[in-house]
Symmetry: C2
Subunit: 133 residues, 2 copies
């Protein structure tokens, strides 16, 4: 609780109960959609508006606290910004998980071949997870 409050303040966002809840949910779930955020939020704040979710998510993105993860054929989800990592999506159950894999060599080679000065990378892999195999 206190940690979430502190986190919001670090990012210059007033720590309102709704925001604290949003950040906690993103943190707990790892990845969560607007729709799920809203459904879960309603249990604790029965009068919360979808506009509140959208406004806050957008502010948190602008502040650099969270980011949107866009995956082909699925709804976007949001996650806290953390160490670079990649996303594994299961084509059977839809589960999304993070894994840490060294991508330095790929990025370095891409930079060399393209001449771009690379600042961010978004990597998603889709396949079947061990549970669904």
């Amino acid at each position: 609780m206190i940690e979430t409050t502190e986190l919001l303040k670090e990012y210059q966002l007033k720590a309102t109960p709704q925001r604290i809840k949003i950040v906690s949910m993103v943190d707990e779930h790892g990845h969560i959609s607007i729709e799920d955020l809203y459904k879960e939020m309603l249990q604790e704040f029965p009068s919360v508006s979808l506009a509140t979710i959208y406004k806050n998510i957008n502010q948190m993105i602008e502040s650099g606290l969270i980011q949107e993860v866009k995956i082909p054929k699925t709804k976007s989800v949001f996650e806290l910004i953390k160490e670079p990592h990649l996303h594994m999506v299961c084509d059977k159950c839809g589960k999304i998980e993070d894994i840490s894999v060294g991508t330095d060599k790929v990025i370095e080679e891409a930079q060399r071949l393209s001449g771009y000065k690379i600042k961010e990378s978004f990597i998603t892999l889709r396949g079947t997870c061990p549970d669904c195999a």
Copy 2:
């Protein structure tokens, strides 16, 4: 022209003038948004409907002829499905280009660490292109 027609037939899609135009535009541009597709289409087919664009794009995705490229903070674009490649996005001018970089090692390691049987990969890198540097 004839090539596009053939391509559509290969994918079991009736080769209508509108579809031929859509595929040609996707091919010429490399990456193109719904909005740009519509604007350009209007010049040749003044009465085309956005619904036609959407319906066709969705059918082409289902058929495996094209795919959506989703990039954080930008509109989706569509491209013909071809050899695996990654996308470079310029954070200044917004240009998107393909490059071929070996990603086998990353995918192999991800597969080993996660236990997933990986089937597809989506890799986007953002940075500044040589022209904007």
